[in-house]
Symmetry: C2
Subunit: 341 residues, 2 copies
């Protein structure tokens, strides 16, 4: 069995080592091929390990860093002042090939900027994108990107998002995924210049199974396998989904709370419904992948608990096994060849 | 009592006179001050009136038009070829002050373009906006605009949306409304140039109670009275809300359908929940107002049923009483005066 090494930013996220250390230990028992490098404040990490009664093993390494990038730091400042921070060291381990992937729950903007600076973009990619799989009515998944890595993009970048999303989804589905653009109407005449231009580009691309525009109410309807949009639209729509799910559940709960039998059924229902609803918050996707980089970087939510962070580490293991960056490169090369002829 | 005349595009919407004529007749009984001018194919309208056993009254007038703007027509084509269409005649009645408001369930893009061409924009307004009131957790309403009248806007237009929304909400609330901008984060550094620039403009505007950025998951949380965004973002986020509400309810229904007691409670619950969920579809808002025009134009959804269209006519009556365009003008004038000093 081939070892997979994940560099975990132990100081990232709202709870630091009190969540990252137990998550690393749990992940080691879940994934037998996994090795974790915990990057952060050694005394804090050791306290947590001792607290857990963890027996030292070569599968868990600790690398010291006493500097953390705060959530309020601008990406540009973080770039200039990242030296010796836990996030930067974790990414450097991927860059130097001492680790296969980096997982961090730290400042998203800083993680984006540093990942791009340290790992570089894949050839032909102008901007990385944050992607995750949404649940749908049929039980299938729909991959949506960008979820906020870029506040604004051009048509070339949106086209690249489609190629990256298609490459990622194809591996999960084992068939050529249906790719759509999120728009304000299904007709060709609808939308802004960005989506119209990208639609033209995708129409001329035989290896992408482009099915046209979809609307906001179709996100969770399994109408497409991949849905692309700019990061502003992706972030606001996905957060709107989460807010609405919460709104509807709160309303139902209030109605159900009025009598004993109803209350009993409510408790029966909502324990598992609530976890499905949480999965609709784009910040909660553990983990969302930064696609378009030469390395694998998984963004865990800042407020992720232990099991959510284990999921993010699991996502990293999965992407290493599937060699996602190589898959994207291959797909992109095929598309570029098509466009030449 | 002052009469209020509404010009109703009898041919607009998916069902034409079979919905518009009964809606007009119902609205006349709901609103004693109302007079309706039904604009459309006279034989079809008369057939419907006869079917309803309607007794002719001076409160219902029929104006013939045998041309309709189809839903697939581009706004630019509709502009050039609108002559004698039911939508155009209804708008002309407002322009010539034979009617106080126009209600149409026809082609949204054409209605936008024709309204602007016939009624003209208020001084100081560059673009009209589609607005509606969203339900929130507290039971209060939040006005959101633009919901898709403009696929892209500049910061000046977004600022004007904030002024228009503030003027509209103030009348309902009787206090200075909290105005927010929809963004991908709450911090000042987040977002694209559009929202950052508009945020600066609103911060410098004492008569607008600007409270900063809100995120997509806060739309239904009563965190603001007015939320502004460009029409692309507004349309996709609101439709995402509707799709998610449907998704959650479908999931709950599927769970509840498994046993008899649960099924019984489900039926008890969902009859009224479903109507609340429908109110989350921006296309279903009957009616959404086109703000920024010199006249009152209400967009009814194409698939609106009779009661939904009666609601849209009611909204028109309400806006005529409140003289919404004048309120917007006054607010805009106050803001411009502030900016001069």
């Amino acid at each position: 069995m081939h070892n997979i090494t994940v560099a975990l930013d132990a100081m990232g996220g709202d709870f630091g080592p009190s969540v990252t250390v137990p998550a690393a230990v749990q992940a080691l028992s879940h994934f037998p091929e996994l090795k974790v490098v915990l990057v952060g404040d050694t005394p804090s990490i050791n306290t947590q390990l001792k607290h857990l009664g963890y027996q030292r093993s070569p599968r868990l390494e600790v690398m010291h860093s006493d500097r953390v990038i705060s959530n309020s730091e601008k990406p540009s400042f973080a770039l200039r002042n990242s030296h010796d921070t836990s996030m930067r060291i974790a990414l450097d381990l991927v860059e130097s090939e001492h680790a296969d992937a980096c997982v961090s729950g730290g400042n998203t903007g800083a993680l984006m900027a540093l990942s791009r600076y340290r790992l570089k973009l894949l050839p032909g990619i102008d901007r990385p994108a944050l992607v995750t799989a949404l649940p749908t009515q049929s039980g299938a998944k729909t991959w949506m990107l960008d979820l906020g890595a870029n506040a604004s993009v051009d048509a070339d970048s949106l086209f690249q998002f489609a190629v990256m999303g298609s490459a990622l989804a194809q591996q999960h589905l084992g068939r050529c995924p249906r790719v759509a653009i999120l728009n304000i109407g299904a007709e060709e005449i609808k939308g802004n210049d960005l989506v119209k231009r990208c639609s033209e580009m995708l129409t001329q691309c035989p290896s992408i199974n482009y099915i046209g525009f979809v609307e906001g109410n179709e996100l969770l309807s399994d109408c497409a396998d991949v849905i692309v949009c700019d990061g502003f639209v992706g972030n606001t729509t996905l957060k709107a989904c989460e807010g609405t799910a919460q709104f509807v559940l709160d309303k139902l709960k209030a109605k159900l709370a009025t009598s004993t039998i109803k209350g009993w059924i409510a408790r029966l229902l909502f324990s598992d419904m609530l976890s499905e609803v949480k999965a609709l918050n784009p910040d909660q996707y553990n983990g969302a992948s930064l696609l378009g980089l030469r390395g694998i970087v998984i963004k865990s939510h800042g407020s992720a608990d232990i099991s959510a962070l284990v999921n993010a580490i699991g996502e990293a293991v999965h992407e290493v096994k599937r060699q996602v960056p190589n898959q994207i490169s291959d797909r992109l090369e095929a598309v570029l060849l098509e466009r030449q002829y």
